[in-house]
Symmetry: C2
Subunit: 526 residues, 2 copies
């Protein structure tokens, strides 16, 4: 029997407050440091591993976290989720994005539809469509092949798919898998659409309209923008557009699209990279086989997340340590720092996935919680960040936990040897050095040159960023966020906080305003 309880009512949480804070300088910098790095490491899928030796935990705290996982019923809750309980209580919805990877648990049947089969069926439809585009069965009006694909979507229909595309673009180039170049239009700022259109050859572009409800204002506006441009170029828009939407949306059966592919209400936008939302653009850009490898990687990582052996469940362990940092140690932000230029927009995706899921002040029952929930998430790739905001991370007045990501090999395999090492070795040397610099610090009589240390980080290390390891990485963070939502007892799958702005913006456009809102509207000449 699952019971949903606030974090601060759990005995195991209260007990955590009594553990002595780990002195990282001592633990990692001391004689046992090397041993600790070896020990505090857990294998992930696809050759990745999660190393938490530079986190402020020791065996006692880890035991405390195990107990917390047990008392909070993390494994049971995850199982309930993927087997179809109504976990998104606010919107009374199931949460089935893991099923888009097609592996976990028993079948989930809703209104007579087997959901696993449904998701896999849509994926198959997308694969067929993409293959036809690639082999020239589906072409533009002049019978010419499409060379470019442009996603029109915002939020979860943009950030995840864009981050995944960028993560694999160079990999695809050198592995002869780049079938079509991808672009993205998201912002209602007309300069976004106009700028992207000025860079693509519209006559050979296929546009993907992505909106679950079919009513997202930004996306419909940008669709019109693109249709205008197609029309002005003398092209038939309906021959250049597909839709990814829910089967009940107005887009589902419109003749405006070559074809529509479906998702449903059980896939939240920020968790939709493995559904058609990511599937259409990634399959068109790289081929369905690549998308399939990506899903397999995610599924393999999901399997680990389903384990109730905390120390061998990287997502659960990461989640528990994060809650310990947020609610016991009192740290307010987390920086995501991939040492991989290909992951340049991965932090922006996690920023949505995490902050939109767990940036809540009420629990699943709509009661206020009296503890901190989701932190601010931000980040940029290393080594770039080192020359930017790392100054504050090292010597600022707040401690910011860090999530590093790094790979042994580059994607493109081109390199130079300067001063006795290649660029990829320099990249790896930097991330290794940063972990130790943050944890152990350095004394100096000149306090301006002193590093306090004791700044915690973890790292996910992989061989190479590939479709499969990218899938595993994505799944890790999706599941981490879910586990943290369970711990904070919030509903990680709704987003009521985005509604008020929409309502007020409509009022502004309808000139139905007074007071301050009217004054701000006037300042913009609306």
């Amino acid at each position: 029997m699952i019971s949903w309880k606030n974090l601060d009512t759990l005995d195991s949480f209260k007990a955590l407050k009594n553990f002595k804070e780990t002195d990282l300088k001592e633990a990692l910098g001391g004689a046992e440091g090397a041993q600790r790095v070896k020990k505090y490491s857990v294998p992930m899928a696809e050759g990745l591993k999660f190393n938490y030796a530079a986190k402020k935990v020791d065996d006692d705290i880890l035991n405390g976290l195990k107990e917390l996982a047990r008392e909070a019923q993390l494994s049971e809750k995850f199982k309930a989720l993927y087997e179809g309980e109504v976990i998104n209580t606010g919107e009374k919805r199931l949460v089935l994005h893991q099923l888009t990877r097609g592996q976990l648990g028993a079948d989930v049947v809703v209104d007579g539809v087997n959901k696993r089969d449904f998701y896999l069926g849509e994926q198959k439809k997308i694969a067929d469509f993409a293959n036809k585009v690639h082999n020239g069965e589906i072409t533009n009006g002049a019978g010419e092949k499409f060379t470019t694909v442009v996603q029109i979507g915002i939020g979860g229909s943009d950030l995840g798919p864009r981050a995944m595309y960028l993560a694999l673009e160079n990999w695809a180039k050198v592995n002869n898998r780049l079938k079509m170049k991808a672009n993205f239009i998201s912002n209602v700022d007309p300069d976004d659409a106009a700028g992207v259109l000025s860079n693509v050859d519209v006559a050979h572009s296929l546009f993907i309209l992505v909106s679950k409800s079919g009513t997202t204002l930004e996306t419909l506006t940008n669709e019109s923008f693109v249709k205008d441009a197609l029309k002005k170029a003398g092209l038939d828009a309906s021959k250049h557009m597909i839709a990814v939407t829910s089967s009940s949306s107005p887009l589902a059966s419109s003749s405006d699209y070559l074809q529509a592919f479906f998702m449903d209400d059980y896939i939240g936008g920020r968790f939709s990279s493995c559904s058609g939302v990511g599937g259409a653009i990634l399959s068109l850009a790289f081929g369905p086989e690549v998308f399939d490898e990506f899903l397999k990687g995610a599924a393999a990582e999901d399997k680990l997340a389903a384990s109730d052996d905390v120390l061998n469940n990287p997502a659960m362990l990461d989640a528990l340590i994060g809650v310990y940092e947020r609610n016991i140690l009192g740290y307010d932000c987390t920086a995501v720092l991939p040492y991989s230029q290909a992951l340049s927009r991965f932090p922006a995706h996690l920023q949505q996935a995490d902050m939109e899921s767990n940036g809540k002040s009420v629990n699943r029952f709509g009661e206020p919680v009296s503890y901190k929930t989701g932190p601010v998430i931000f980040g940029e790739p290393g080594t770039n960040g080192q020359h930017s905001f790392y100054q504050l991370l090292h010597q600022g007045t707040d401690i910011i936990p860090l999530q590093f990501i790094g790979f042994k090999e580059s994607q493109m395999g081109v390199d130079v040897d300067i001063q006795g090492s290649t660029s990829i070795k320099k990249l790896a040397a930097n991330v290794a050095a940063q972990i130790v610099a943050f944890a152990c610090g350095k004394d100096d009589d000149n306090l301006n040159k002193k590093f306090e240390g004791n700044r915690p980080s973890s790292i996910i290390i992989g061989e190479k960023l590939t479709p499969a390891s990218l899938g595993a990485l994505l799944s890790h963070f999706e599941n981490k966020i879910m586990f943290q939502g369970f711990l904070w007892n919030v509903n990680s799958f709704d987003q009521e906080g985005v509604q008020l702005g929409k309502v007020l913006a409509k009022k502004v456009l309808a000139h139905d305003t007074d007071g301050a809102l009217k004054e701000y509207s006037d300042m913009f000449g609306i």
Copy 2:
């Protein structure tokens, strides 16, 4: 006589603690709301204005902040800075980036060199060079015009120039000012250079190597990477490369470059967009006249920052309110939210400019401070952010002050009218709506749909993002950061916190490690 004192020793700061916190819901949502929006607004240069009606201030608190500005001698300190005192005490350097805009104060002469003349002279050299590239006097080895310019730099040699280029690229396109397309290589990850090179036509590309010291490892590594590529393409690298560096650097007189342009130690990397670091790429991309308009906008805003009339000095006022939020109200982060796709990387630039400047724990004299200094800065363009992390901003457990930026007109002028409004009106309506939503909130019996409000923001509003208004915007934030550094009594112009990582990375590459560092290095196979 200037005296440098810690914030918490100032009577005016102590007095601020006694003011009653402003109830924004009441102040902005009440009958006086419209009046407040009109009143709490201050003109900036180039048609911009800074509106702080949605900040938690009232006339009493503003008077308190004025007193703080006086006691902290903000105006006197700024004057001392631009007239050549050694403000960067850690490195014993002058701080002269405002002089690159060529306007403020008396002449500054160092070792017989008039620094204003020096910066303007370099700017003139860059303009001449750019004109020759544009008119075909300077060409590639085959006598063909260069079409592309690629900046090789990291940190301040990358983030600012890149953000400025992206801010003006579409503006330049529609105004027939896009002379050359720009690209940027920064990360030591070899996939960064390889990826960029796979997208450009190297035979017609001019590369700008930017490193003040001429020793930045990432940049020299990427230079070699590019030289390799040029060589493999059968090209003479020295015909494709210029340098921006200090006159004492090893690059200054190297025959590896067509020409070298100079900056000096008095221009910090993160404040170098107006020096040759930004000047070379922006002049090549858009023409020297555009760069000149940009400088004029920055100079006009600097003039306002030099005023000792706090309520008419937007940068100083913004700085004071920020310190009030950080040190009296206890808010730990600031989100920068431009409603302008062109400003997509402006938050990343401010993230460096702010966090690297003021993320310090010791004062100018190397003594620990006992108050919080620089906050975490993050942000993404609106409306994209609304569909991402705004959930947490509206309903999360922490209050995050917000810095909005918006414009009345788009840059490209192409638009569509959907549901009775254009995209640019929708964009503006959204930012106006968000200010009020954050400040005033909304009650609801369902607490999951309730918005607490009382979440403060300010907005900078302009007519259009142009070279001049972009310059003014940049100057505003540079000066805000400087004033906050004065208030916190830190040295905003050094960055000792980046050193330890560099030292340890070198040790890793030299295999001179043991303990945890060796173990992490081994994990990467270094």
